[in-house]
């Protein structure tokens, strides 16, 4: 379960989920992206050129436009049970009616059997999480992070008036602040993350001035991808089913 902290954070949350799906899909698996009809109007349709840059091949993306939550959940279960699908993303809209504990558990079981990654992406967060979400193994909250994160504030302010070249500096790789608000396997925390679109790995974003404590960095890398892929090549095949890892369902 990945939620956007605010409507403007929809991009950051989508990037996080897209990057996770790209990691899970590797070079072979397909990604089933299920979105409810209204979600596209509210937060925009996923757009292939952007995903291509992120490292997720649009040719391996199958999009299902579900009319309602029930259809989305049904399709997600079918997708998670299929051996060809490496990741299923569910993007519901509004209050998720009918997403009870049983539905959440079913998804978790299907994901556990096949080893596929199941993520629910909530772009327009609403107070009160559905009961089914308690089956999710981890819950993330994404908010955007300024490119100038950590840099002197004066410089950011100056960017507006200075020459173009100066202003462009810092508009770099995707950055986001990921907050782990629930974790069935360990602690929670929040980390600034950067997605390396050229090597397809998450990195702990470093402050411009001064680096973080090395311990924190290692923890953050593990939390971002507990299958310890952060250190491995992007095209490594998905972990074997049953390996104790981050398998989100819902």
């Amino acid at each position: 379960m990945v939620a956007a902290a605010s409507p403007a954070a929809a991009g950051a949350a989508t990037g996080f989920v897209g990057a996770l799906a790209a990691l899970a899909a590797g070079t072979k698996g397909a990604v089933l992206w299920i979105r409810q009809d209204m979600a596209a109007r509210e937060s925009g349709e996923i757009w292939a050129p952007g995903f291509a840059t992120l490292g997720l091949d649009p040719a391996r993306l199958v999009l299902l436009r579900a009319p309602d939550v029930a259809a989305a959940l049904k399709a997600a279960e079918a997708g998670l049970s299929s051996a060809a699908v490496a990741a299923v993303v569910i993007e519901p809209f509004g209050a998720i009616q009918g997403f009870d504990r049983i539905a959440g558990r079913r998804l978790a079981l299907a994901a556990g059997r096949s080893g596929a990654l199941g993520v629910m992406l909530r772009l327009a967060p609403q107070p009160g999480a559905p009961a089914g979400l308690s089956a999710a193994e981890t819950r993330w909250r994404l908010s955007p992070l300024s490119s100038a994160w950590g840099a002197a504030g004066a410089r950011a302010a100056a960017a507006r008036t200075e020459a173009w070249a100066e202003a462009l500096e810092g508009w770099g790789r995707p950055l986001a602040r990921a907050e782990l608000t629930r974790n069935r396997f360990g602690g929670v925390g929040r980390w600034p993350l950067a997605w390396g679109f050229d090597d397809g790995l998450f990195r702990l974003a470093e402050r411009r001035l001064g680096a973080l404590d090395p311990d924190v960095r290692r923890d953050a890398a593990a939390a971002a991808d507990p299958r310890d892929r952060a250190a491995g090549p992007a095209d490594r095949p998905a972990a074997a089913p049953g390996a104790g890892g981050l398998r989100r369902a819902g």
Binding site: A8, G18, S43, G50, F51, V62, A83, S146
Partner: protein, 453 residues
């Protein structure tokens, strides 16, 4: 006869306004029902049906018993009908309307039609009167005149009508539904009243159909199951697959998905007396040795999943993405039904450039208007309001000028200047100014088009 006159003869006569649309709907429903005799059923409005029963008689114990059964079955539903079978559509039509009907012996229909009065030609009042004035009372007498003579006096259209009615000219029946490539069906003497039993029968039909497909070296692309209810209602369930297939289990599984997702579930009512499974479209399918390539197996698995999802949710809802060479960003990625294979062939079509992302992850199908404070004429926005929330821009990249296709119909659209901007919270947006300031438009409007990670 006027209504008053008719009521004088029969005082209990009641009048009801004609409902043309309801009649048409009823005729269509009847045509659907007649589908059980032949796949080629055409409407002959306003009150006729045309069935091409060539070769179908044998399945019903001869054409006589076919007609008998048809009249009896329709009669039990409360319809009075007259049926004529003839060598061609034209004569059959004339015989049905102007004689007692029945089966005309092969080769004799032309003589039978020749005896009919000229009314049977179905001409308009003026032409009919003209024919009668010329002393031509029967179709035979008319046909005996030279064609040139008739055409000179009554027009070429009348001659064409004459030829059609006599069967000289037999245009093909244009059926209500396209005839399937292959079909299998099963009739039940005693209607089956449960959905489970119907599905079991469907499984047997799927086996039979796939056997026949195999013998023909075909795989089906589209299938249709028709459930004929004893009371005349016909439910048709159609589905399509992405790649030619003749696997009965897959077919049955897809039908189950489809039936599960039906808005109004299958209702057996008094039971089904006929089930039909047809391959609407089929393509050659050569059985290949199972590939040892893992990728092929995964692709097949994915195709099956796509078929299943499409069967349940509808073909148009399961889409793949295909790159389109277009200037306008919203046209660059097109969603196409994944069953057409769009998702496997579009590979590498989107360029993946190094460096910071230049294209957003989410794109609004309709760009959202925003209010912007920007430097004229070409400056990036300094502040904008989107969905009633104000964002001040800390960094911006652009403009990236995208000229829209002026050669497209609908006239030249203004040039768009795209900016990638980041607000104080770090959220990144893709916004554009619609038109060049002062040159194309006096006060160009701004839109928000996408969201970056």
């Amino acid at each position: 006869m006027a209504f008053a006159e008719a009521r004088a003869v029969c005082p209990t006569l009641r009048a009801a306004p004609a409902d043309v649309h309801e009649d048409e709907r009823l005729l269509k429903a009847l045509a659907d029902w007649c589908d059980r005799y032949t796949p080629l059923v055409a409407l002959d409005p306003p009150r006729g049906l045309l069935l091409d029963v060539s070769g179908c008689g044998a399945l019903f114990g001869g054409e006589e018993s076919l007609v008998e059964g048809l009249v009896e079955a329709l009669g039990s539903h409360g319809f009075a009908c007259r049926v004529a079978v003839a060598d061609a559509a034209g004569p059959a039509r004339a015989l049905a309307w102007f004689t007692q009907g029945g089966v005309a012996p092969a080769g004799s229909s032309r003589d039978l039609v020749a005896r009919l009065p000229v009314v049977a030609l179905g001409l308009d009042e003026a032409q009919r009167t003209a024919l009668l004035r010329a002393g031509l009372k029967t179709i035979g007498a008319t046909a005996a005149r030279g064609r040139g003579e008739l055409a000179a006096r009554f027009g070429a259209k009348m001659v064409a009508t004459l030829d059609r009615t006599l069967g000289h000219d037999d245009p093909p029946v244009s059926p209500l539904r396209p005839a399937p490539r292959l079909m299998v069906e099963r009739r039940f003497a005693e209607p089956i009243a449960t959905v489970e039993a119907a599905l079991a029968a469907l499984a047997a039909l799927a086996d039979a159909l796939c056997g026949r497909l195999e013998a023909a070296g075909l795989g089906l692309m589209g299938a249709e199951a028709a459930f004929f209810r004893a009371d005349g209602r016909v439910t048709r369930v159609a589905l399509g697959v992405g790649a030619p297939s003749r696997d009965p289990r897959l077919l049955l599984r897809l039908f189950r998905e489809r039936l599960d997702a039906l808005a109004d579930p299958l209702d057996p009512g008094f039971g089904y007396d006929l089930l039909r499974l047809s391959a609407q479209t089929a393509e050659p399918l050569v059985e290949t040795v199972r590939s040892f390539d893992e990728g092929a197996a995964a692709r097949a698995e994915l195709a099956e999943l796509v078929d299943r999802l499409a069967a349940r949710h509808g073909r148009a809802r399961v889409v793949g993405i295909r790159a389109v060479d277009a200037h306008r960003p919203e046209r660059q990625a097109r969603f196409e039904p994944a069953q057409t294979g769009g998702f496997s062939e579009a590979a590498q079509a989107f360029e993946r450039d190094d460096g910071p992302p230049r294209r957003p992850l989410r794109l609004f199908p309709a760009p959202e208007p925003i209010e912007v404070v920007a430097e004229a004429p070409d400056g990036p926005p300094a502040r904008f309001v989107w969905r009633r929330a104000s964002h001040s821009v800390l960094r911006a990249e652009g403009p990236e000028r995208i000229a829209l296709e002026w050669w497209r119909p609908g006239g030249a659209k203004p040039t768009r200047d795209y900016f990638r901007v980041e607000d104080e919270a770090g959220a990144r947006f893709w916004i554009f100014r619609d038109g060049l300031f002062g040159r194309e438009i006096e006060h160009p409007r701004w839109f928000l088009h996408g969201l970056f990670a």
